[in-house]
């Protein structure tokens, strides 16, 4: 009896870990794409907040979760165009301009929320989408195949992005431009267009991540993401710029959070210590950064604007 109870808890913890990992995964896949092309975007958190609010508001108005996701993506794409203009055309310092985007998203989403919604009203999240046959499997079924559609989209993007990055000319161009834009340019690859595309898609994913978060939680509030976007950036380093690595990082993060939540509900750790437990992901990331910084090299042209003939 107690055994089956233990199994149930483990299954629930892993399933919720996967759910919690999803917004991180979406945002960090987007960030990884941009960084691979040589552009650092510190504004992820702000874009996520904008995506989250616009998705939440759309769902409130239309009662359609898919419209919410779509609007979240569109807002992200628009932010991407803006960020591309700043960093590519105007060559703004990426470490700082991203903070501007973050502050803008933080303030703007709160402003719009207060003005157009005011008191929080919950929205209904996605129903779990059971994958036929697989979801019926014992244990594994409940863990992996009874999630909302966003979870499948996010994890489905991992092999897709690996394929694009490592098996297509476009992916080769992105990687080449992130390492040596001069060489890529001399071979006729447009540095500007490729970086623009990577940034726009990357921000679109950040917008989707915010939308996914708001829909999953069924609510919007000021600073909903609470620095999740910044963690997503760290996960890119954690995952050494590969989609698979980023996925592993996101899962570790999601699982740690999920375990902390379970421990809280079962009173394994006292309430006061839960703040300390909340530090764990950040500390793990710092340690991971120490290890990664020694073993993996970031894209050589990261944060460096490209000036032809420069």
């Amino acid at each position: 009896m107690s055994d089956s109870f233990a199994v149930m808890i483990v299954v629930a913890t892993i399933a919720s870990g996967i759910r919690l990992a999803t917004p991180f995964l979406l945002a960090s896949l987007g960030e990884a794409l941009g960084q691979r092309s040589g552009v650092l975007n510190l504004g992820v958190d702000g874009v996520m907040l904008l995506g989250a609010f616009s998705a939440y508001y759309t769902v409130l108005q239309t009662n359609n979760l898919y419209y919410g996701l779509l609007v979240g993506i569109v807002v992200g794409l628009a932010s991407g165009i803006f960020y591309g203009f700043i960093t590519l055309n105007l060559q703004a310092e990426q470490g700082v301009s991203g903070i501007g985007i973050y502050l803008f998203g933080l303030g703007m989403s709160d402003l719009l929320f207060q003005k157009f919604v005011g008191t929080p009203r919950p929205i209904l999240p996605f129903m779990p989408l059971d994958i036929p046959v697989l979801s019926g499997l014992p244990i594994v079924g409940e863990m992996l195949f009874q999630h909302s559609i966003i979870v499948y989209i996010a994890f489905g993007l991992v092999p897709l992005m690996s394929f694009v990055l490592y098996r297509t000319t476009y992916g080769l161009n992105i990687r080449a431009i992130g390492e040596n834009p001069e060489a890529a340019d001399s071979l006729g690859v447009s540095v500007m267009a490729t970086r623009y595309s990577a940034i726009i898609v990357g921000n679109g994913l950040a917008g989707l991540a915010g939308a996914a978060l708001a829909i999953e939680l069924g609510i919007f509030q000021q600073n909903l993401t609470n620095a999740m976007g910044f963690i997503a950036i760290a996960l890119v380093y954690f995952g050494a710029w590969s989609p698979k690595g980023v996925m592993i990082g996101s899962l570790v993060f999601g699982m740690v959070q999920s375990i902390v939540l379970q421990c809280k509900t079962f009173g394994v750790i006292p309430r006061s210590a839960s703040d300390l437990a909340a530090m764990a992901p950040a500390i793990i990331t710092i340690l991971a950064l120490v290890i990664v910084a020694k073993r993996f090299k970031q894209p050589s042209a990261l944060t460096k604007p490209y000036v032809r003939g420069g």
């Binding site: 650092l40 510190l42 702000g46 700043i86 105007l90 060559q91 703004a92 310092e93 470490g95 700082v96 301009s97 903070i99 501007g100 985007i101 973050y102 502050l103 803008f104 998203g105 933080l106 303030g107 703007m108 709160d110 402003l111 207060q114 003005k115 000021q222 600073n223 609470n226 620095a227 910044f230 963690i231 950036i233 760290a234 380093y237 309430r271 006061s272 210590a273 703040d275 300390l276 909340a278 530090m279 992901p281 950040a282 500390i283 990331t285 710092i286 950064l289 120490v290 910084a293 020694k294 970031q298 460096k304 000036v307 420069g310």
Partner: protein, 374 residues
Amino acid sequence: MKTTKTKSFIGFLIPLGAVLLALAIGAVMLLSLGANPISGYATMFGAAFGSVEGFSETAVKSIPLLLVGVGICIAFRANVINIGGEGQMVMGALLSTSVALIFPSVPSLLLIPMVLLAGAIGGAFWGSIAGALKAYFNVSEILSTIMLNIVAVQFMNFLLRGVMIDPGELTRGTGIPQTMRLTENADLPILLEGMRMHLGVPIALFVAFGAYILLWRTAMGFRLRSVGYNPHASRYAGISVPRNVTAALAFRGAMAGIAGAILVFGSESHRMVTDGGSTGFTGSAGFNGIVVALLAGLHPLWSIPSALLFGGMLVGANALQRAAQVPSALIIALNGLIVVFVVSSEYFKQRSLQVGRVALSDDESTETQGKNNE
């Protein structure tokens, strides 16, 4: 000589234009929120600068912005781009609050310097962690400071809900995560009767002057700037790059830490309070201070008017919220736009300087040229 003047004039004018552009967009936002932008801005700037009370409030709000901004001036000049101000403010505040809790009966004359020093040490310690990670493990200081911000905030929540909580909160059962009213001996003295202006204002100004002297009148400042300008040449000249990078982050942390301490001991409640996030305590000063420094062209003294401008916007935002029901979050969004525009305006600044560079012969023209050729 004349060209240098023209150049610094352009260097001042272009970022200012960026701010005005952001304010113009703010006007459009006000309009679409159903408020009159002209009377809106008039309300804002009237509330911030129109009266002695208002200006006193503005000056107080500017303190953390100025201190963080001055720290950024030092760090960015050493080419250490970091965003750890939030965490450093929190750690400075925590250490200084602990000192006040442990030594409540020490007389003011001694206790105030003690808590300020504790703030500086707490912030410097937090900043130097990022510095050491960068210098010795090559961990990007941008990333480590993000993570250290998160750790600091959770640590604050832990302490303010645990050992540092006001015993009254426990007996009442309300459990608000805040300290008790800290000892009056640590209160920063009010300088103008009946107003908010307190000792923190002259302290912040003093630090800004100190940073100016440090950067341009001492060997240490020269080393910091030279490491920022050309680490390879500096190494060749026998300047330790890791040590100076760490020092830059420690200085920057110390200033943010003092800002955190002043936020606690200059507050109206004289408590340290958390709302669970970072912005509740710092008011995003750790980020907004970056804007202050950028607008000031990374110059500690120009940071003074720059901080007053942003402090005034914060004061004005509250007035605007009362007068026109425009949520004060507008100002956070506007600050974000100002950051983006000021950073982007660097492009136009470099270009306008490049056009005139043939006519220039002083060393700064080669500096801009060098930057463009990178």
